[in-house]
Symmetry: C2
Subunit: 195 residues, 2 copies
């Protein structure tokens, strides 16, 4: 039954990743079996091991790819201007990047504890880089006298939690579109740190 038409590795590979992401987002890493993933892809469980050395790597690769995409996109965004403008830029970037990827956001947030320690450390470091990008903006704003926050580290965590939380309840086709959401969050974020 193998290979009904053409070579399948470039088709099955991505399908394994996509299916794993969707199932893990929905049911959680521990609750999804390799056989479930295989069944949705349309192969037997053994075939998955042509595309991942084990289940743990499947999860880790998904999470690392997502975080790398975030960091690359942030670097490409190349935020400029005064601190308030850069803060708006960061807020809009976060929303525009994350809202269309709810499954990646969900998995990257919920499955950290299912990572092997060395994998966890790698992702935590990437996450820290992302947080630092925001904290730098806040620090510059405080130094320039345009922001007033009691503690830039906590303000950073608070803002990121606020933005990430958005991905957890926002559903496409809801009462408000992404543009409206962006404006509202820019307003909340900007005011929370202003003098």
């Amino acid at each position: 039954m193998a290979r009904k038409q053409g070579s399948h590795s470039d088709i099955t590979g991505p399908r394994v990743q996509d299916t794993a992401l969707r199932l893990i987002a929905r049911h959680g890493y521990a609750a999804v079996s390799m056989r479930q993933i295989a069944a949705e892809v349309g192969v037997q469980a053994g075939a998955l091991y042509n595309y991942t050395p084990d289940k743990q790597s499947l999860l880790f690769d998904l999470m690392r790819a997502h975080m790398q995409d975030v960091l690359d996109a942030l670097a490409a965004a190349d935020l400029r201007g005064d601190p308030p403008a850069r803060l708006d830029g960061f807020t809009r970037f976060h929303i525009r990047f994350h809202l269309p990827r709810p499954d990646q956001v969900f998995v990257s947030y919920m499955e950290l504890r299912n990572l092997a320690p060395e994998n966890f450390a790698i992702l935590e470091s990437m996450r820290r880089d992302y947080e630092t990008a925001l904290e730098d903006i806040l620090r510059d704003g405080v130094a320039a006298g345009v922001f007033s926050v009691p503690d830039t580290r906590i303000a950073t965590m608070a803002i990121i939690a606020m933005l990430t939380g958005l991905s957890h309840w926002y559903r496409e086709g809801g009462r408000l579109g992404m543009d409206a959401i962006e404006g509202i969050y820019c307003n909340l974020v900007q005011k929370s740190v202003r003098r």
Copy 2:
């Protein structure tokens, strides 16, 4: 070997709950087995079924009890004054109640998808009640002209995400104590919605 001293049901029962909470917070509901819980309690797996009809009920009871505690404590807090004072009261209440209960917060947040649909609906409804308490404050503040938010529902979700996020990274004995944290978050929250 049964009952080495006295009747054990009033000792084992709470220990089952406590152990389940701790293990589920650490490893996740799907990744924790009844045998693991039993081993930490110090009984065989079968004995757990004197205290819960099944694993799902064990999770649900933990989560419902936590949400009920939250709602009861909020009602007892009896926030009074003008909207800014009530908003400060809500913020401080949230932090004071949730920071000492990191496991409950974690489980109630992460394990929603492992609930049976009817159990999920019950918890979602309780969560909605909590959110409404905050939204009422914001709406009153907007009506009174002391708050300015583009959308009270979104501001509610944003603030709660910010506060809940705190529980995910705050660790006792860190750089800042709970009192300092409270002040910082009151500042951030208050400014984010003020005129």
